[in-house]
């Protein structure tokens, strides 16, 4: 399962929506319930799923899910 597929599972769980479909362009503006608490829940789930730790400052300024996936990929490669 690739990173985007795993991210989609995480997003579906956090937002309790089995129909949710992510694209690289998806961002917080597209999901109404994606607020600061949801962001924290996403970060925790992502770090657990991918066995990585990402500093808070690296999450800020990500424009969309595509950039999120890219950040995750870099962290996995760096820790690999």
């Amino acid at each position: 399962m690739d990173i985007m597929e795993k991210l989609q599972d995480i997003f579906r769980d956090v937002f309790d929506d089995d129909e949710l479909v992510l694209s690289n362009e998806t961002n917080a503006e597209d999901i109404e319930d994606w607020d600061s608490l949801a962001q924290i829940r996403l970060i925790v789930a992502i770090e657990k799923q991918f066995h990585i730790k990402i500093p808070a400052k690296d999450w800020q300024g990500l424009a969309n899910v595509g950039e999120m996936a890219e950040l995750i990929r870099k962290k996995i490669n760096a820790s690999g």
């Binding site: 956090v14 309790d16 917080a28 319930d33 600061s36 924290i40 829940r41 925790v44 808070a56 800020q60």
Partner: protein, 305 residues
């Protein structure tokens, strides 16, 4: 008077928007903007007054805005810890006393941030209105009023402004909270009988009270049932308790983690306190089952007899 004409609120809004204008806080910016836009007239008037009162007592609007940014930052850290570990970070009064209550600088910033959340957070606004209504219902019901855990002093100020009690005793385990509250209530306290008491509620011997306000306290103590028993013991026969608490709501000094609404209400029963009124506010109005399953915040307010 519109918000734009209220200097304090307008200035606070501008400072908050400035603080959060960088660093990817677009939704936070929007929610701040919306919160000020849908502030009703009465709450706006009250908050404008409190901003003035703060200003007259050495707390600037910048202090309030920076306090809120600090409060959010600390909250974010505790939320992350909670979702990582499934529990609050601390579980003893000793730990949070050292970290928070005995740290004057931390307490001041944190309490000011909490005060600003009264304007911005929907659940805190609902609490405040529920409390205001409770005090109105008590009007003419003269007697002794006890506030346990004065915090930032906004609720005490509201009780002084709206209420008509023969005496007000304000109790807190934190000297900084009492100091902030004294400053906030200076304008009202002159015409009323008010005492500020630095004491642990469980050790406090002050006689009986007709109204006890114990807002956002139970989650801060190691043994909530003991607190409730003490409330019951010092309440007069026809007395009332205003009480708020929360489930799945990590903050730096929250040490008791309720498993759900049932645990809270079972404790009331065990303490011999009956629910007269109740307000349940779930995160984003999700149903309680989802909040429990996903460990999302539930805020609870009660009037108990």
């Amino acid at each position: 008077m519109k918000i734009a004409e209220m200097q304090g609120l307008s200035h606070l809004k501008a400072e908050l928007l400035d603080i959060f204008s960088g660093g990817g806080y677009l939704k936070r910016l929007r929610s701040i903007d919306q919160a000020f836009s849908n502030l009703d007239d009465e709450l706006a008037f009250i908050m404008e007054h409190y901003i003035e009162a703060y200003g007259q007592n050495g707390v600037s609007i910048s202090d309030l805005a920076e306090g809120y940014a600090f409060f959010l930052s600390e909250n974010d850290k505790e939320e992350k810890y909670f979702f990582e570990h499934g529990k609050y970070r601390y579980n003893s009064l000793k730990e949070v006393s050292e970290r928070v209550y005995e740290n004057a600088e931390y307490m001041e910033k944190y309490m000011l941030g909490l005060a600003v959340s009264m304007i911005l957070w929907p659940q805190h606004r609902k609490y405040f209105r529920f409390f205001s209504h409770f005090i109105d219902e008590c009007y003419g019901y003269n007697g002794k009023y006890l506030e346990v855990g004065a915090g930032h002093g906004l609720f005490v100020s509201e009780a002084l402004r709206r209420g008509d009690f023969e005496a007000y005793d304000i109790l807190d385990i934190s000297e900084k909270s009492l100091e902030l509250t004294k400053r906030m209530t200076a304008g009202y306290a002159t015409s009323k009988t008010v005492r500020f008491i630095h004491e642990d509620f469980l050790k406090y011997e002050g006689g009986k009270y007709d109204v006890i306000s114990i807002g956002e306290v139970l989650e801060h103590v190691e043994n909530p049932p003991n607190f409730l028993l003490k409330c019951r013991d010092i309440l007069t026969t026809d007395g009332r308790v205003y009480l708020t608490t929360c489930v799945n709501a990590p903050e730096i000094d929250h040490i008791y983690m309720f498993s759900g609404v049932d645990e809270v209400e079972d404790m009331f029963k065990t303490a011999g306190l009956k629910i007269m009124e109740k307000l349940c506010i779930t995160y984003r109005d999700y149903d309680i089952a989802r909040c429990i399953r996903q460990r999302l915040p539930i805020n609870l307010a009660y009037v108990l007899v």
